[in-house]
């Protein structure tokens, strides 16, 4: 039995594993892919910390900006903790060798880390590594995990948490390679499985696997989720491929223009406002572009090398001389697993959650660019430490194999299930339905229609199955399980959106265009636990 089982091997999971190990725990990191494949690799723009390396900045300003962007829905104590911890976290990343971009200022240590402006920030606050910030942090974390001898189990798909008597005892997994159902016993668990943006399949910057597996598992196990209706739309994804063009393009001075070449919004406003401004242009039949031509090729290659290549590859435009066609698409799920001040999941003792899957109440109704890399590292570490503390006093009495046997039976049923309707078709339909009816601008009638369609899809799910009957390396099965998770989360998102008759941050509803003090609260959802 391990002390701390970390589920998910992206930036939050690796940070949690390192902290738990450092504290003295035995740690196992388990993930459905390889650690360096995770969504963290896609984070581009930067990581906020009030270092004040470029212009004057203070932790208090970072807190203020975050609270403002959250539109009254964050927990100020959690925000304070995250922002105050940010300089130390950068210091820690510096010590393990993260290759930050640098300033020539004759200072030492983190005093030389370059910082750039992001939307909603009152100072140049985001530390970065060109436009590969997430990639470089992730790989450095991984190298450090190898250095510390942390154990990994790759290609294991989370099925269910084992939670007898409201306390975590481990989890069950599908070993994707062998097809076996495995049970891993643990004294405490950190869930770091990422967000659920892929529910907007075809309309998201997220990777294929961002299907909220951990969030769904928590719901099934009787834990709580909250703020599920708050989905951030990134203003600038490439129009045809939905590939992300970092906010730093605007931070560095890029403009948003319509077909007439007119600017229509202050590009440095928070993402929700910019996304809505673009959306209303599109509703008027305008195409929208990102214009960075005035920055010059040399500066673009220096600051945004990845974007330059992606624009050429996927849109056939050269940002140095052409406009970049863009549209806003789903990018980040602010809501997720409801956690307390220790990041412990409400409803499941000994189970902690960090990163995008968790709702630590720091992003509220709209996340500031640069705060997600900060959250995964500072709160990842915090969750790891707390999980270790729990493990010290947790019972080491293992549970029986009830959950594993149940899951084995269920997977067996899936193999036998009728397969007259392709779930891949429904995955597309669900993505489009969400973009159209649970998107940037919402309306109660459409939300209700979406809910009905989702319920119909849940009924139809019995006719969907897998046509690949191989036990081993069955990606068809994994994708079906992922789709089932998105379908499980869909009603939670829509119901919360229906319940919230107001507009706040990323949630904008026609007929209720202003903030309503009565809704200055979190919508928390929890399933009734089966009584056995």
């Amino acid at each position: 039995m391990v002390d701390v089982l970390v589920i998910g091997s992206g930036g939050a999971g690796l940070s949690a594993a390192l902290a738990a190990k450092e504290a003295g725990a035995s740690v196992l990191v388990i993930g459905k892919m390889y650690p360096t494949n995770s969504q963290t690799s896609m984070a581009q723009g930067g990581m906020n910390a009030a270092l004040g390396n470029v212009n004057e900045d203070h932790v208090s300003l970072h807190i203020q900006d975050t609270v403002k962007s959250a539109h009254g829905l964050c927990d100020e104590d959690m925000v304070r903790q995250m922002c105050a911890d940010a300089p130390q976290t950068v210091e820690w990343l510096e010590r393990i060798g993260v290759p930050f971009s640098r300033l020539d200022n004759d200072k030492k240590g983190i005093g030389t880390v370059a910082q750039r402006q992001m939307g909603g920030a009152s100072a140049k606050r985001a530390c970065y590594a060109q436009d590969y910030t997430g990639l470089k942090i992730l790989h450095t974390l991984y190298d450090t995990c190898l250095k510390e001898g942390i154990a990994f189990l790759d290609e294991h798909y989370l099925l269910n948490l084992i939670v007898p008597d409201d306390t975590i005892k481990g989890a069950t997994f599908l070993d994707i390679r062998s097809g076996e159902i495995k049970q891993i016993d643990a004294k405490s668990v950190v869930i770091a499985t990422g967000g659920y943006g892929s529910i907007y399949h075809g309309f998201t910057t997220n990777m294929y696997g961002a299907t909220g597996d951990g969030v769904a598992a928590v719901l099934r196990a009787g834990g709580a989720v909250s703020d599920m209706e708050f989905i951030q739309f990134h203003p600038t994804a490439l129009k045809h491929s939905c590939i992300l063009i970092s906010e730093s393009a605007r931070g560095e001075g890029g403009y948003l223009v319509n077909e007439a070449g007119e600017r229509f919004v202050d590009e440095l406003k928070p993402r929700d406002e910019v996304a809505r401004a673009i959306f209303s242009q599109m509703k008027e039949g305008q195409r929208v572009f990102l214009d960075v031509r005035h920055l010059g090729e040399e500066k673009l290659m220096e600051l945004l090398p990845q974007e330059m290549a992606l624009c050429k590859m996927h849109e056939h435009v050269d940002p140095a001389s052409d406009l970049i066609p863009i549209k806003p698409v789903a990018h980040y799920s602010m809501g997720g697993i409801d956690v307390d001040y220790a990041l412990e999941v409400n409803g499941i003792k000994g189970c902690f959650a960090a990163g995008e899957c968790s709702n630590a109440k720091v992003h509220g109704a709209n996340r500031l660019g640069g705060n997600s890399l900060l959250e995964i590292t500072t709160f990842g570490r915090f969750a790891g430490e707390n999980a270790f503390k729990h493990a010290v006093y947790a019972s080491s009495k293992p549970v029986d194999g009830t959950q594993r046997l149940k899951d084995e039976a269920e997977i067996k049923t899936l193999f036998a299930q009728e397969d007259s309707e392709s779930f891949y078709t429904y995955r597309e339909i669900l993505g489009e339905l969400f973009y159209e009816k649970v998107g940037i601008v919402r309306e109660n009638g459409q939300l209700n229609e979406a809910l009905e369609e989702v319920i119909a899809m849940q009924v139809a799910q019995k006719k969907m199955g897998i046509s690949d009957k191989s036990r081993t390396n069955n990606q068809n099965l994994v994708e079906f399980l992922e789709f089932r998770n998105t379908l499980l989360l869909a009603p939670a998102i829509i119901s919360a959106a229906i319940a919230r008759d107001e507009s706040r941050g990323a949630h904008f509803k026609v007929g209720f265009e202003t903030e309503n003090e009565a809704f200055r609260k979190h919508i928390v959802l929890q399933w009734k636990r089966e009584t056995q």
Partner: protein, 243 residues
């Protein structure tokens, strides 16, 4: 448009028909899986050339499926020198092993004053996404499966060149056996890297660092200076003459 994909079950190339038009290979594979053959197995992630999941071989050359645009008649195969798990999906566990053997991390931190120029010295090397393309293209693996390989050596170079590293020697020591001297400097790795990294140059740099730290080319040692060879050893001259 037709493409062929190597299927592991039959070990034959299977043809699939795609709609005409420009399409990234990853989208083509997704299309096949969703509409024609759900058993076709491959790995995919970000679609944006940054997670390193989807590297395959196209007509014998390593490519990221999300970045490569399909052409009629393309032949798609899994990476070389990796155990094939199924179809295009390979076992990349070896990556972790070579990184561990190569001790590719910051050994011992010292505070340093880093400049923009210092950042540039290893900026390219830290763009590595561990897609394993270079490993698949490296001919040394055909004869020496224990070779550390291009990306592990590039990563060792990255940390050894970092001014924050106070113990670069231990990294250099770690890449001597099955490492820098076993590379043939053929440059195949450099040719296929989707991020434009030049592992061949990194290995050359590691060789000169090795000499600075007192190591020498072991093959050179055995060929010329290592064993007494008064017959000239086919070199046409006696390397020990005069000693």
């Amino acid at each position: 448009m037709q493409i062929k994909v190597l299927r592991s079950k039959t070990n034959t190339h299977q043809s699939y028909t795609l709609p005409a038009g420009e399409i990234p290979l990853l989208n083509a594979l997704m299309y096949i899986k969703e509409t024609q053959d759900a058993t076709l197995t491959f790995s995919a992630g970000c679609r944006a050339s940054v997670c390193g999941t989807c590297a395959v071989r196209v007509n014998g050359r390593e490519e990221l499926a999300c970045a490569y645009k399909v052409k009629p008649g393309d032949v798609i195969e899994p990476l070389q020198y990796h155990p094939i798990l199924r179809d295009l999906k390979v076992d990349k566990d070896k990556a972790k092993e070579t990184l561990q053997k190569g001790v590719t991390w910051l050994q011992s931190f010292q505070e340093a004053s880093l400049t923009h120029e210092d950042e540039k010295r290893t900026e390219k090397q830290t763009d590595c996404i561990l897609c394993d393309s270079c490993y698949s293209a490296c001919p040394v693996f055909a004869v020496n499966p224990d070779f550390l390989g291009p990306f592990a050596l590039t990563r060792a170079y990255r940390y050894s060149e970092d001014k924050r590293e106070s113990n670069a020697k231990s990294i250099i020591d770690g890449v001597q056996s099955n490492g820098v001297w076993d590379c043939t400097l053929c440059g195949e790795c450099t040719a296929v890297c989707p991020k434009g990294i030049d592992p061949k140059m990194d290995i050359t740099m590691l060789r000169s660092a090795s000499i600075k730290f007192g190591h020498s080319d072991p093959s050179f040692a055995t060929q010329s200076f290592g064993t007494p060879d008064f017959g000239g050893g086919g070199f046409g001259f006696d390397p020990n003459a005069g000693f």
